[in-house]
């Protein structure tokens, strides 16, 4: 196998950085003969050019992929020159929902209880809402036009900086064609996959992880479909996987690949994400645990 040069490997990455078209490549695996520091050099080249994150898969357990996703989210959400701030509200809803078992009650009662819990956990702070209402009431004393402008301003602020509560509804449709569902139902399932009922229940991590990955991809897709990112050609967000041969890396790649395949099959637009893995692949590429 001939030795790979930096430029050759980087060209492979560059070729996939543009806006993805369906069907799209979302994954680049660097050559095993590539320099050991290639991933860092690519990361350096991406600095200031595209949102990116280097994930060392060796630091994560394959059973706790949500932690890997949370780390990726935190870094990708950091400011990148010229890019707007990327928000991962749908993923954050999912991460909040899987933190602990919410309720044992089945069916309708469960949905109701979950909704209540969801409101408590992810609803906008009551004090902030009360303050906004108080502010508008104060403006009303100056005049109705001023109050109207204040109310519009508060509404625009809420639109610009929505609370997590606004995003849990995504779990009812997930951008997929077909009928909508009750979002609490899907979130309840997610919570149940992470925290199965009963003392001997087995977590359905694959389903859990794919749901969270789907939420993250949806966040990226929505971010690139609005504002300045919706115009012209911007580089995708990039996840660079170091030690991708580890169990966690393999599980992540497999679940991402499965999810992307399903989304493509359903006709959901491809997400603006590129995953670059270092060349040393693991022996096992699966990781089902259901």
């Amino acid at each position: 196998m001939p030795s790979a040069t930096l430029e050759d490997e980087f060209e492979k990455v560059k070729a996939l950085l543009g806006r993805p078209s369906a069907p799209a490549e979302h994954y680049v695996e660097l050559s095993a003969s590539a320099p050991a520091d290639l991933l860092d050099r690519i990361a350096a080249a991406l600095d200031g050019r595209a949102p990116h994150v280097v994930i060392d898969c060796g630091e994560f357990s394959d059973e706790n992929l949500p932690k890997l996703l949370a780390a990726a989210k935190a870094r990708l959400a950091m400011p990148c020159p010229n890019y707007p701030r990327l928000w991962f509200r749908r993923l954050e809803v999912g991460l909040v929902v899987i933190e602990r078992r919410i309720d044992e009650t089945p069916q309708i009662a469960y949905t109701k209880a979950f909704k209540e819990a969801a409101r408590n956990i992810i609803a906008p702070p009551a004090t902030a809402k009360r303050r906004a209402q108080g502010f508008v009431a104060l403006l009303a004393q100056i005049g109705p036009r001023i109050a109207l402008m204040g109310a519009i301003g508060a509404w625009l602020f809420e639109r610009r900086y929505p609370s997590l509560y606004e995003f849990y509804k995504w779990y009812g449709h997930r951008d997929r064609p077909g009928p909508r569902h009750v979002p609490e139902s899907r979130l309840g399932e997610l919570n149940n996959w992470a925290h199965p009922a009963g003392e001997h229940g087995t977590p359905k991590r694959r389903l859990r992880d794919r749901q969270l990955i789907e939420a993250m991809l949806a966040d990226l897709r929505h971010a690139y479909n609005r504002g300045r990112l919706s115009k012209h050609d911007w580089y995708r967000s990039v996840i660079l996987l170091r030690n991708s041969h580890t169990r966690a890396g393999a599980v992540f790649r497999e679940r991402l690949r499965s999810e992307l395949a399903e989304l493509e099959r359903l006709g959901v637009p491809p997400p603006p994400l590129l995953v670059v893995a270092d060349g040393r692949t693991s022996t096992s590429d699966a990781g089902d645990d259901e």
Binding site: S3, A4, T5, L6, E7, F10, K14, L17, G18, A32, S33, A34, P35, A36, D37, L38, R41, I42, A44, A45, L46, R49, A50, P81, N82, Y83, R228, L229, K231, H232, D233, W234, Y235
Partner: protein, 519 residues
């Protein structure tokens, strides 16, 4: 190993370069444009703000420095005009009396708060800066301020000017040396109607001019009642401007006083009329008209016009042909209808007239004059065989006891001596007594307006009470028990109008003083 060495070989070159994405490049360009546009917009807004607010701030700053920022005093054409509570001193000469007024205002506010009584403001609107050609001299303005201060002090601290149901503050409103900035100042006064301590009346207009009338008409339209100071021109009264009465006698009152004087002395059969031909000067034109109406039987010979402001137009030479005509006509007396600066020049011209050996009486009407303080002029008058007499708003002999004074003059004089100056000479120009009575009249109207109400009265209500200052509610002024009624058009009844000699004699002749009719 191979991989590493290959990587090292490959990696030993320059860092990997990734050009910015098309979107980032376009956005960066757009952002640069937006930044430039924002900077330009901000600069334009800043320049506009500086251009608009800068002159106001700067003119504000020039009149009193940092303390005056946000005040109602502005520098316009080199003069500080606007309204002050006394803290901004318009001229150094007024510093002491303005400080007294400011302190009295503070005392009134504290007292009103302590007693839970309403506090109101009255503004004194007149010229408070002087220039070479200003309409009022600094000495007269100072006298006016001192008289107003005495009235303010008496009203707040004694029951002599009505029950102390309302405490009063006096604000000073300067309209400029030649009243050229009356519009700005009147605008400030209009705004004061809505202050926490409301403006309820304006007093003190001192010049019978078109600008005084224009300002009065605007204040009248705003519902603000007025009591003028030393304006005497006929036509500046309640009959012509709603809500305006005056403290000084009218020119007709002067003419009547002079007629009674001539009737009483009986040694003068005729008089020549010398008048200022400036048509725009309401004081001189209505004085001439009043002479003609009231002294028609005395006026003989051709009238002698002269252009006003004779100092600027040629000094005594202006009156040379007039003095020749006076001598040629062998006139016994002259009725002078002109301003005080012109009178000085006229008297200078008369002092060197051809017929100086023949006595000549000069008669005129004026609220008060500071020529009484001019000893040199007095000597010239005596040497020129002149008998100069004027109908006035007050008599310098009242303060010295040389002549009988109105009943309430003594009370005023006692306060004046204690608060301002024990020397009676300070009252000789007549401005202090007139402005005292003007403010006392305004305060009287404020205090008889709905006295049972716990709130300050509205200016409109005070205005309705101006013409009720009569009968049981006369103003106990220094120049008489002043009575105001619609049948006299808001001109003061009960006002003493003495005929005074210039210079004032040591032993003035006893003569019945004309008192304006009440009805």
């Amino acid at each position: 190993m191979t991989s590493t060495s290959t990587g090292d070989r490959a990696g030993s070159g320059a860092a990997l370069y990734l050009p910015p994405s098309d979107g980032a490049l376009r956005w960066a360009r757009k952002r640069r444009r937006m930044r430039r546009l924002s900077l330009l917009t901000a600069a334009a807004v800043l320049i506009a703000a500086v251009a608009y607010l800068g002159p106001i701030g700067w003119s504000n700053f020039q009149c009193g420095g940092l303390r005056s920022i946000g005040s109602d005093i502005r520098e316009i054409d080199g003069e500080c005009v606007g309204v002050t509570d006394g803290s901004f001193v318009f001229q150094d000469q007024f510093a002491h009396v303005q400080e007294n007024i400011r302190a009295e205002n503070e005392w009134a506010a504290a007292q009103a708060a302590a007693e839970g009584l309403p506090l109101v403001r009255i503004a004194m609107l007149t010229t408070m800066t002087t220039t070479a050609d200003s309409a009022m001299s600094a000495d007269k303005i100072q006298s006016a301020l001192e008289g107003a201060y005495v009235a303010l002090h008496r009203a707040n601290r004694t029951p002599e000017l009505g029950d102390r149901t309302r405490y009063v503050q006096l604000h000073l409103a300067n309209e400029g040396a030649r009243q050229t900035h009356w519009e700005y100042t009147v605008g400030r006064l209009e705004a004061m109607e809505d202050d926490d301590v409301p403006l309820v009346a304006v007093m003190g207009q001192g010049i019978s001019s078109d600008r005084t009338v224009a300002a009065a008409e605007r204040l009248s339209a705003a519902g603000i009642p007025m009591v003028t100071g030393v304006t005497t021109a006929d036509g500046i009264d309640h009959d012509h401007i709603d809500g305006l009465i005056r403290a000084a006698p009218s020119n007709t009152d002067f003419a009547v006083a002079l007629r009674r004087h001539l009737d009483a002395r009986g040694d003068i059969g005729s008089a020549m009329l010398v008048y200022d031909s400036t048509a725009e000067d309401r004081y001189t034109t209505t004085l001439r008209t009043a002479y003609e109406a009231e002294l028609g039987e005395y006026i003989a010979g051709s009238h002698q016009p002269f252009p006003g402001r004779s100092i600027a137009t040629g000094g005594p030479e202006v009156f040379d042909p007039i003095t020749r005509n006076i001598c040629a006509a062998a006139s016994e007396a002259v009725l002078f209808a002109g301003r005080e600066p012109d009178l000085r020049v006229f008297l200078d011209a008369l002092s060197v007239r051809a017929c100086v050996d023949r006595p000549l009486t000069v008669l005129f009407g004026v609220t008060g004059t500071d020529m009484q303080q001019d000893e040199e002029l007095g000597e010239r008058i005596g040497a020129a065989n002149l008998d100069v007499r004027y109908a006035a708003g007050s008599d310098p002999g009242w303060a010295t006891g040389a002549t009988e004074a109105p009943a309430d003059f003594a009370a005023f004089h006692a306060h004046y001596s204690r608060l301002v100056d024990p020397d009676p000479a300070g009252l000789s120009d007549g401005y202090a007594v007139t402005y005292h009575d003007a403010l006392a009249t305004a305060i009287g109207a404020v205090r008889i307006t709905n006295p049972w109400e716990v709130e300050a009265p509205l200016p409109e209500d005070v205005r309705e009470h101006l013409l009720l200052l009569n009968s049981e509610q006369v103003v106990r002024g220094a120049t008489g028990s002043l009575s105001f009624a619609s049948n006299r058009g808001g001109n003061p009844g009960g006002k003493w109008v003495p005929v005074v000699s210039l210079p004032y004699p040591q032993d003035p002749p006893a003569e019945a003083t004309y008192v304006t009719p009440v009805e």
